[in-house]
Symmetry: none
Subunit: 150 residues, 2 copies
DNA sequence: CAAAAAGTGGGAAATTGTGGGAAAACATGG
DNA sequence: CCATGTTTTCCCACAATTTCCCACTTTTTG
């Protein structure tokens, strides 16, 4: 179960070293085999391969005659790329995915339960500001969140 | 049950020593394992690990296709970081969380029942002023508070 | 006032992050 | 189909950071 935030850097070759605190659990859950794909919010999603397998099944089971489904399949399935963790605990991000998420140097890795999100740092901080403002403006909380006492 | 307010200082490495009066109850409730995350008011929330567990479960059970849910998951789960109390009764605050809450040196720790809030001192004092002003301006009491006598 | 407890600072070992070179694989053009 | 140039992969070595201690100062307590 992944959670927490990490600032990290891509090197000139587009490699990114995984935070030490996740190494064991990544090794345990997928033996270093990750699947990376894109998200509509212009970040990347990083799944342990077996986790991705589940999502992939679900996606492929949907009726592809539906436009919205088809769109999602193209985005998620279409960009899903397997990446192996190397001997120095790094992964190499494929150029097309780097470009999609505007990743050049400063990045942010966010634990989100069964996966990570990987953001360009600047983008992440702008979005976070926006979310916080939104959250403070909201007078009415959606029903799903009402019972959540934090 | 945590309550009360404490002024305290971060050292140059970002460490903060926990007030003596909470030590026993922190030790009892989580054996020194705390989870720290962010709040939309730009402070940090400090939970004993088992307390956080409950919230985490609730958060992850929500449907992440919902925008508002996704936002909350990114903020709360995304920043949740486990911190161990060290041999000198200190915790090390991870740089991304320190930055988020503008914590440099002077901080305020506030007991809030099942958790603590940790504020930058200056921010805390400004906010407190503002809340008091707001409270005095309001003529009508919100429904949730109508029956409260203090 | 003495003794204990709490708070603070900082050094050194261990771990982690980073850069880059050389070998291998791949692509391109003749 | 080979030769050449480019990209990718693998590996090693160094730099930076983090963690773990220890020791000193300050405050509290009896």
């Amino acid at each position: 179960m992944f959670q927490g935030i990490n600032d990290l850097n891509l090197d000139a070759k587009g490699r990114m070293s995984l935070p030490a605190r996740y190494r064991d659990s990544i090794q345990a859950s997928c033996e270093g085999s990750l699947v990376i794909t894109v998200d509509v919010d212009r970040c990347l999603l990083v799944y342990p391969a077996p986790e991705w397998q589940v999502i992939q099944q679900k996606l492929m089971a949907l009726p592809s005659i539906n436009k919205q489904v088809r769109r999602l399949q193209r985005l998620l399935l279409g960009h899903a790329t397997e990446c192996e963790v190397d001997a120095n605990h790094r992964i190499l991000l494929p150029p097309p995915l780097r470009n999609f998420a505007n990743l050049t140097k400063h990045a942010v890795l966010i634990g989100q339960g069964n996966k990570f999100e990987l953001w360009d740092q600047e983008t992440w901080e702008k979005m976070r500001e926006r979310w916080i403002k939104e959250e403070n403006k909201l007078s009415d909380i959606s029903e799903a969140l009402e019972s959540l006492s934090i």
